[in-house]
């Protein structure tokens, strides 16, 4: 009997909690008709933003809030759409989270901000800017885009970015690039790990700099690169047969630097760290 009463009480408590959550969670949708090459900005303090292509010339923003301490401000000015989480009195990191799911025309340029993230963008060919101190950033399946990402500690993953102009700055977040190619791919980090897996494309400039983070690059045999690598105090390892270079801008020293070319050396690759390790691997 006592057990039965306990179970009933527990059920009531759970139902009340679920009902409270359901009341607190509010989902709203905002639709904006736009033309070609629109500009969409989503500024969120806490919570995620996910952007995917829409089937037409419209922007559809679906915003989920979890309390009345935050509201969503939105405006449209011609081809520009701005959406921003607006914290109200009593807001804090816990109660002011907003999760956005956004559909934009594939050619739209998007600018995303959130301190906590995650920030995601996929299958677009407009420019993407993503910024957040601790936000995990995931950008994939883009072509012909400028992709600029800034985080302090958030990890960054870019996958299948073709013909991109890629600039990444992260202080301690790990940076992972899978099949990322383009005329410029630059990664600047302080202590995060930089991993590149791909062929470095054709005729691009790739610069990966770090202070204490390790840099790993894995390339196929048919990659066409002119590669330089140097670690001031760390170990440098190379598993790829390179044609040594006669002239280099630094003193090549076994174990701490190397320079050489593979195939026609179409792309320029420069890997540099102060105290991290560098490892060039063959796929």
């Amino acid at each position: 009997m006592q057990r039965s009463q306990y179970a009933t009480a527990l059920t009531v408590v759970v139902l009340v909690m679920l009902a409270t959550l359901a009341i607190a969670e509010t989902k709203k949708e905002y639709r904006f008709d736009v033309g070609a090459k629109s500009k969409v900005s989503i500024i969120n303090q806490f919570g995620g933003v996910s952007v995917k292509p829409s089937p037409g010339n419209f922007v559809l923003v679906s915003a989920t809030t979890y309390s009345d301490k935050v509201e969503v401000d939105q405006s449209q000015s011609g081809n520009r759409v701005d959406v921003q989480s607006h914290l109200l009195a009593g807001a804090n990191a816990e109660n002011s989270r907003v999760d956005y799911e956004v559909l934009v025309p594939a050619d739209a340029s998007v600018s995303l901000e959130s301190a906590t993230g995650p920030l995601r963008a996929e299958r677009l060919h407009g420019d993407v800017e993503a910024e957040g101190a601790n936000a995990a950033v995931d950008v994939r399946d883009m072509s012909g885009s400028h992709v600029h990402v800034k985080t302090m500690a958030g990890p960054i993953t870019l996958t299948n970015i073709r013909d991109g102009h890629v600039e990444i700055d992260s202080v301690s977040g790990d940076v992972t690039l899978n099949s990322v190619t383009g005329p410029l791919v630059r990664v600047s980090s302080t202590s995060g790990r930089i991993q590149y897996n791909g062929d470095f494309g054709h005729a691009g400039e790739y610069r990966f700099n770090s202070h204490s983070g390790n840099i790993d690059a894995t390339i196929p045999e048919d990659a066409s690169v002119d590669v330089k690598a140097q670690s001031v105090r760390g170990l440098v390892q190379n598993d790829v047969p390179l044609q040594p270079k006669v002239h280099t801008s630094f003193l090549v020293k076994e174990g701490s630097s190397f320079a050489g070319t593979i195939n026609k050396a179409a792309s320029s690759v420069w890997l540099r760290t102060f105290s991290g390790k560098i490892h060039l691997k063959k796929r």
Partner: protein
């Protein structure tokens, strides 16, 4: 009238003073009145800058205070000295942090540029270590930034502190590298990258990502 409507009319307000409706909104809305105050300050400062090619004496004064705090100027500090922050905050509002940061970045950039001058290397060699050491070990601006983060987002203080420490080490190593090889472009680039990372941390702490 909503804030968005007011902001659409803001250029008219700044130029002509605005109509009664704009004035009424301004009286009732602290956000918009704060925005207008900031814009008016910027306009006023811009006029002063325009009037003279030399920066205002107040700019030099601010830099001097920072250099004293950094102990780069060995002059006895006045007793009961207050933080520069309140006065800067009054003038710059939330952007007060930009002033010491800009000063630190200017010092770094100035050193880097000076070293690239044909006759600059020697002088730079004698002046950079002190500055580099101070910045690499963290400075008053860092501590003030962390205090601000503690107030606005206490849970993020540890992350900011750890990242600032790493970046200061980066700056120190990059500066050492430039000192050792003043003509090494890669070393100079690394120093610029390191300062860029520090600048990014300040931007993120300043911007609207924090509540």
């Amino acid at each position: 009238m909503t804030c968005a409507e007011f902001q659409r009319e803001l250029p008219e307000y700044m130029e002509e003073g605005g109509n009664a409706e704009l004035q009424a909104h301004l009286k009732s809305c602290s956000d918009c009145s704060g925005l207008v105050t900031s814009l008016e300050t910027i306009v006023r400062e811009a006029r002063e800058l325009q009037a003279s090619e030399e920066p205002s004496p107040r700019v030099w004064n601010s830099i001097e205070i920072i250099l004293r705090q950094e102990k780069l100027i060995r002059e006895p500090a006045p007793s009961g000295r207050r933080s520069i922050l309140p006065s800067l905050r009054q003038r710059w509002g939330a952007m007060a942090w930009l002033v010491p940061t800009a000063a630190a970045l200017l010092v770094g950039a100035g050193i880097a540029l000076y070293q690239q001058r044909p006759n600059g290397g020697r002088m730079a060699k004698t002046t950079t270590p002190a500055a580099a050491t101070t910045v690499a070990n963290g400075d008053a601006s860092d501590e003030q930034l962390l205090q601000e983060v503690s107030v606005r987002a206490p849970l993020m203080r540890a992350a900011y502190e750890s990242n600032l420490r790493d970046v200061n080490n980066y700056i120190r190593d990059a500066q050492d590298s430039v000192n050792a090889n003043p003509n090494d472009e890669e070393a100079q680039q690394a120093l610029m990258d390191a300062y860029g990372q520090k600048s990014m941390i300040y931007e993120m702490a300043l911007d609207r990502s924090l509540p």
